[in-house]
Assembly symmetry: D5
């Protein structure tokens, strides 16, 4: 069921890890997929020291869903890359949008403490013309 | 009080577990029923390995409510079925909507970790023409 | 300060436990009263087995408030009654509305697990013509 | 920096504890002050038995802020007073509004359990003509 | 990548700790950066006694982001300064806005208990003309 | 596999709920069975008011184990009985020892708050001549 | 069932609140009663300011158990008394031992923060000649 | 490094899942390996209904360690087997001891609620002649 | 009640903060006092950067108890001192032992994270010839 | 104060990261140092996939303490090494013992889930002839 559209981001091309996709089994409705990966590590581009983060990915698929194993390998491909907090979050967003072209996608990167300060970064993509259904807030 | 409308989904027909319903005792008002089942298991269609999830079902009944014991048996019927995360969530949604024809229904499937990544999927049904009351947000 | 309007619901009449009220000491403003009772038990009407729940009652009083001790006795009156989840929640709502005629009232019944499934039910009453103040969401 | 406007509520006059204020150091912008006092006790007016509560005070100051030590003394002044749940919450609201004339103020009183039931009461004041800024909900 | 705009607040000039910035790597989109520093201490201006707080900084960068190490040093510069709760929160807001000129910035200061009362203060800045995107509330 | 030794305690004889047992499948070794029942209710013998508790049962079986469904019915049989905290704990201990004759058994009853005070009672039985193996405390 | 031995401590004599007891229903075995009262308040003997604590009482009764309602009234009798942390804990221990003459009794007083420091005090009584059974540490 | 001693338990022989082992890399010292598997399911032998448990395995290896993937497959082999709580715990203990011949091994099975009662079972094996080092309890 | 023995440690002499004591009100029995101070800060002697810790002090007093306010001032006296983790813990132990000459005293210092590593240090003093009572481990 | 005994383990020699030490500032007494590092990653020697763990190190120093920064670098040196769970724990133990020659040292490695199973490993070293003081268990 994997699609023929392996998307290889600029960064991950070096590391050889492309995001693979498969056809959304329910394209007729908007629905949410949430993923949480507590095993993300990259390197600080200034000091070369390791950084650790938990990556959250929330999305509304359009025609494609990301394949879980390729996502795992994609996230591993940052292990030896220097990446600033704000930049790495934006890169993951760009690569996932490039691979899936989703209706909506949000990346949240929660980094472990550095210098006594905990940082997280949140970035979103919205497909032009798409609007979410009005949320139903049940009591 | 069980209704005469046992709804047997395509998948559950094989397993012999139909969702039974009973008449909504308060059809005159919108109200919310929330159910949480931490005992859901199915099989990965690719590898045959077991997957485990907690299933949440939140709904506003119309003329029918789902009978609790038949729901339990219905969820058990996935035990030996291969089912992708996104697809199984959609199937449960479709079957419950087929059985109850509710004003609103949301299925949330929270899967245990696979490959270091935690995934959950959320899908909703809204009866055409139904809108929720404006929520009262008390201080 | 107890009002002269003891309201005796159909069900609680048998058990002899009427909801008593007292005059709202601040009728000039909308405000919220929240009550939580973790000591509710009734019987399953199908099997006769005991069910246990926590009952939440949130309301905006109009001219009357419910008296705490009579509420406790009222909730005890379900101890020997058969009561389905959806029906008991609606009955408590009806009885409290009958006793207090509040501007707003919400009943949430969180039941302990049965058949591996946790169920809760939420029902609301709004006085015709009443609208809540726009909520102030402070940062 | 304490203002010359000590406000002595009717109740607290007996106990000799006036709420003191000081000039808001940032009157040019709306901002939120939140206070939480887990050390509140008063007496049940019916039985004379002690009640215990946590008091939350959330406000947007206008020209005045409440001085912390006088607030502590003010809350202590309820120690020997009989006070119903709904009434004491309203009194604290009235006294703080009288002392500070804030743009917005909310009092939440969370009482410890009585008769197996946990009660809390929430009351708000809004300065006429003041509206909160539209909240910024960051992802 | 550090910008040429070191901003030295009035207060921090004494302490010699300027906030440094670097160019926002994704200026084309609104995104959120959240920082939490549990290691903040200053002195009570009235009694000279130490106060302790956790500082939260949430912002949407425009052309500049704050450099993490300079932020740490900036927050340390309050260690020997007298600072009222409401005033210190406003000062941190002003200094960060002066350094970054962000689209949006919120400072939350959660102080440890004094006199049995826990206090926190929240203040916000919004760039004139900027409005946040309508939030996407996924189910 | 149920044993032929249904043990009917004095109290439970009235309620018709005997504890049933089955043969210990591993009588050759000491091992621990722990059970927790959060759905226990009885009546205060002084006031007739309902009490609620969580019952914990920890035991080392000898030749018999208690059958789960009969235990549930046995605990339900206290629903309409007056029972002091200290006495009900001792009765449950006596009845379980009478039914199972275990090597060791401990009953812990954690009652919900009464008069602002939370009470629990713990009682144990040890078979004469039995001593537990020295515990292995792994690092 | 209340014993004829109301014990009136020196301190509680002034306040008129004697500890009452009843006959231990299971004097033939050692067992544990644990009580927790989160509603204790007294006054600082130096400053007159209120202190708040949670009192834990754990005991092995001998011939007598403390009656719950009299214990509540006894703890209330400290409301207007000045009492140092170390001294009040010892007084409660002495009074309970005087009333019950238990085999073992432990009082733990957990006070709320003062001056940024949380204090608790633990004191024990052991009946001469009594030794606890060797504890059974189940795996 | 996998040993040549695949041990196939009686039960798992049917399911074709043998426990594999590898040589203990540090046989010269006693040390602890702890494993927790929250994904265990079997069937109730009486009713055929699914049971769910978390299995804990704590051991001190001797010459062999259990291989992680074979352990996972071994635990899956219970999926379609009827197994009483006490019996399944003992079987897992026996099979792991048969495969590893460890110095010490403890199996803890925590089952999800049935009939309102939570059950867990703990069983241990000790190699004859082995005694654990006296535990070092650091302050 | 403050003793005439203000003990001024070598370090705190510079800062002018002596530990004061008062007579133990219950010298006839061993009992435990536990204190927790989450507001400790000192400086790293290598880098001059602030460190933050929570200090726990557990002791069995002999003839003297430490006075709470002087303890607070004593802990503040480290604010401007350089102090290694292991050394500062030992110094606090030495100073408290010098001031109180307790039967037993334990200092636990839990430091906030540095370099991604959380450190705590625990040191104890025992009066020669003193042994603790055998602990009573109630079930 | 760093000692002249940089100890370079076999493994870390390749990576160039030696453990440095400094003189124990309180060699005259046994005391405990606890360290927790949630930022450990290595590679699975079988699959090359990254593993993540939290490393705990608890020790009683003798003449030397480990220097914090060198420890951080030492733990980073595993980032590109293949290391089985049981083996890596033993290696860290051996290297720390080689560097510090402590009276006691315990390494606990808590790995993130693999194949649905959470594993941790605990190993200890005791200096020959050293025995810990009898622990003081305060009530
Ligand atoms: Ca997927
Ligand atoms: Ca690498
Ligand atoms: Ca139902
Ligand atoms: Ca199967
Ligand atoms: Ca009321
Ligand atoms: Ca203030
Ligand atoms: Ca008083
Ligand atoms: Ca940054
Ligand atoms: Ca300073
Ligand atoms: Ca059983
Ligand atoms: Ca009944
Ligand atoms: Ca009692
Ligand atoms: Ca292994
Ligand atoms: Ca099956
Ligand atoms: Ca003291
Ligand atoms: Ca160190």
């Amino acid at each position: 069921m994997a699609s023929s559209r392996p998307v290889r981001s600029k960064k991950s091309q070096a590391a050889g890890s492309a995001l693979e996709t498969f056809a959304n089994p329910h394209p007729g409705r908007d629905y949410t997929v949430r993923m949480r990966c507590p095993e993300f590590t990259c390197l600080c581009p200034k000091t070369g020291q390791p950084d650790f983060a938990t990556i959250h990915i929330d999305f509304v698929p359009d025609r494609l869903c990301v394949e879980l194993k390729s996502l795992k390998l994609y996230l591993w491909s940052f292990r030896d890359q220097g990446a600033f907090h704000e930049a790495v979050t934006g890169s993951i967003l760009d690569d996932l949008v490039g691979a899936m072209a989703p209706r909506f996608l949000r990346v949240t990167a929660e980094f472990l403490v550095r210098g006594g300060i905990y940082t997280s970064v949140v970035a979103e993509h919205r497909m032009p013309g798409w609007t979410p259904a009005a949320p139903v807030l049940l009591p």
